[in-house]
Amino acid sequence: MYESIAVRFCGAAGDGIESIGSIMVRTFARAGLHVYAYRNYQSVIRGGHVWYQVRASNEKLTSFGDFYDIMVTTNKDGIIYDSSQIREGGIIIYDKSKVKFNESEVGKRYLDMNIPLSEIAQLYSRISAMQNVVAYGAIVELLGLDFSIVKEVLEYEFGDKGKDIVEQNIAAARKGFEYANEVYENIKIEFKVKDPRRKMFISGANAIAFGGYVAGCKFYAAYPMTPSSPILHWFAEHSKKGGIIVIQPEDEIAVINMAIGAAHAGVRSMVATSGGGFALMSEAVGLAGMTETPLVIVEGQRGGPSTGLPTNTEQGDVRQVLGAGQSDYPKVVMAPRDIEELFYSTIEAFNLAEKYQIPVIILSDLYMNESTSTLEKEFDIENVKIDRGWIVKEGEVKDYKRYLITENGVSPRALPGMKDYNFVAASDEHDEKGHLISDVLAGLPYMLKTRKAMMEKRMRKEQYILKELEPPTLYGSKNADVTIISWGSTRGAVREAIKILEREGITANSLEIKYLHPFHANEVKEILINSKLKLLVENNYSAQVGGLIAQHTGIILENKLLKYDGMPIMPMEIVTKVKEIVSLKKYEVVK
């Protein structure tokens, strides 16, 4: 009995790999299974080598898996490049009459499942992608799933293309199903569905977009950039239904300044980009900080530096977002740790942004934005809270001061159009009324005092924010041999690694950081001081969060698993590294 099962579809860009991948995802999810899916592709529109791996299980999954059990490939690249990751004894479905390769090139550890994919596909369509549908039918059979689900899913997927297309696809899948049933009746992968209620599933990018919608985002601007473009696509698609103005301006600088304008006027607004676009935005992030304009900014990290690896993942932009814009201004930087959290964090981000009148940065990455996962439970819509912070009502305040100095640094926010609250928001340093002190008054005693007070007022917000951010806790047993420190998307692999380690007799727990700024220095320090062996896991070259931890706690983590080849960190890599440090007893002295 398999705990989880993973299917990998291989092909070239343009072969419909993405389409068959999402069919597989939907099939599993509708069957009641949990799914985690990830796609590896290249920055070319056609050709190259692409794979889409869909993993399913009765338990909630947190990674697409180190290995897979079934491969479908329509060319030899899949076998040559990818067969080393197949689980010993796994199955490769391909058409021997079409896919030719030199067996000595690959260490054969799999079973062949030769299906005349091409011949069958051609019965129904000239599009080569149909081969994958045939194989898909065979997989459904292999796993012992009911064919009815195939019909349902293909109807959903191709419904808008017309009845004929749907029928063709179903017929092709059926042929695959039958072929497997007849020719390979002895090959079966036992896989019982425990809870047949269909599961909700969503991609990371969509979780952000949907979260934004639920939070009441009314203005979304973005310039396309992998891996955040799908957020733009979702918003554009839902602009009418959702009542959201969605625009694609000329560049990222216009994007963020438009969003600041919309936020200043009073609506919740959001932008999303990747590292390069964020660099361009960074001046205006400081503008939002200085003018105390609420704004949510999504930074989907990808491989850098510069254009780098535009279709691969990395967690390398921590220092960039923390250092965005000159001098100091209050902000929040949060790194949600899975797809579910991306949704809730986006709502949280809007609330923090408005409550504290600050820019909030959601640091995601390509791995998470482009992964699709089922959810433990459907999103909890009942308990969504909207906190718009202190927006004054007409008549509420006398002798209005937009930048009133208050204990928690938050001042009454008026929106243009309101009576008696007229003010100017300025990027220059200003007094409580918003009048510039940076020019006529610069250097004078009043200015020096006011400047100090305003800087302190703004920065005080961070103390209050920190108090309301949930502090990190330790996942797993308190006295574990090893504490694994991760942040953002790497948590998924860590959780799975812990399970595997447990089976091998090593207890590990995990410190999973979400808030990078402001930082829970005391809590993190407390946990680290009380933990034994420590391993930092980051998807970047220079241990950027490791540096942050040291900065705030004085604890320099020496054991590190750093990966920067563009691929996400996988559970087995962590397992291996943990075993290594356990065997070397690399205990660290807390310095």
């Binding site: 599933f201 969503i202 216009a254 200043h264 819509i381 100017v424 220059d428 009324k433 020019d439």
Partner: protein
């Protein structure tokens, strides 16, 4: 009128050099607003950075004094969020035609209903007098001690070519005429550009009030037809012994906000409700 104008006069007195052209522009804006009887609370003035961009601070309207070169995007966003606002942009030539050029051109094709007033003094005033994109060829400035070598940009011609629907030029030395151009720009549905010769008395010793007075003439005075695209462009290239001011070009096309009417559904975005549970659940069905 003076009493009405006073309604728009802010607490903070302008900090411009005595006789700076920007006084005339401020005056003209206040006059235009007064003539239109706009409540200051319904006006948002957005600026960038420069001497000119300090303008919003000297009025009683709402304002946003952003960063250098980005006033047009900020104004566009604000206008989209709340089309009930009268949105003005008040910036310098460096801000709008230098660092802001990309936004300027793209704004023309979008045509949001904002009025862009550029205090064109042909230098970077606030940074003490370097050349600007409209500095004349050979002009000697701090950054061009051997004279400007770049051809100057022609904002009027670029705006017309770029798809602008209201393109005018005024002169600070004639704030009453200027006020009319601004007023009509505000009335105009769509983007109105009002480029203003607004002399920097401190750093531009070439393009002085005098210099302009000798050269400018009003397009109205020669019966220019502002609906004629080709003629407008032709006049836009006049910049020698004779320099036209007034309305170069005016045409009609939908303003940017009009494309979003079905989203507004009769109300500015800021008055829209947050999504309701049923609506959310409806959309959530996609994720199965």
């Amino acid at each position: 009128m003076e009493a009405e104008i006073r309604l728009y006069r802010g607490e903070v007195p302008p900090d411009w050099c005595p006789a700076c052209g920007d006084f005339g522009v401020l005056n003209a804006i206040q006059r235009a607003l007064a003539e239109l009887k706009l409540d200051p609370k319904d006006v948002l003035i957005v600026s960038g950075i420069g001497c000119s961009s300090n303008l919003p601070g000297f009025t009683t309207t709402y304002g946003f004094h952003g960063i250098h070169g980005r006033a047009i995007p900020v104004a566009t966003g604000a206008k989209l969020a709340n089309p009930n606002l009268t949105v003005l942009v008040t910036v310098g030539d460096g801000d709008c035609y230098g660092i802001g050029m990309g936004h300027f051109i793209h704004a023309m094709r979008r045509n949001p209903d904002i009025t862009v007033i550029v205090m064109n003094n042909q230098v970077y005033g606030l940074t003490t007098g370097q050349a600007s994109p409209t500095s004349m060829k050979k002009h000697v400035t701090k950054s061009t001690p051997y004279g400007v070598i770049d051809d100057s940009v022609n904002p009027i011609a670029l705006a017309i070519t770029g798809g602008a629907t209201y393109v005018a030029r005024g002169f600070s030395g004639d704030p009453v005429h200027l006020a009319q151009l601004i007023k009509n720009g505000i009335i105009h549905k769509g983007l109105a550009l009002v480029d203003v010769f607004s002399p920097c008395v401190t750093f531009n010793k070439l393009n002085t009030y005098e210099w302009f007075r000798k050269r400018i003439y009003k397009l109205e005075s020669i019966g220019h037809d502002p609906t004629n695209f080709e003629l407008a462009l032709k006049r836009a290239f006049e910049f020698g012994d004779k320099i036209p001011i007034g309305l170069f070009y005016k045409t009609e096309k939908p303003s940017y906000e009009e494309y979003f009417e079905d989203i507004y559904n009769g109300k500015p975005l800021i008055n829209h409700d947050f999504p309701k549970k049923e609506q959310i659940i409806e959309i959530m069905k996609e994720f199965y």
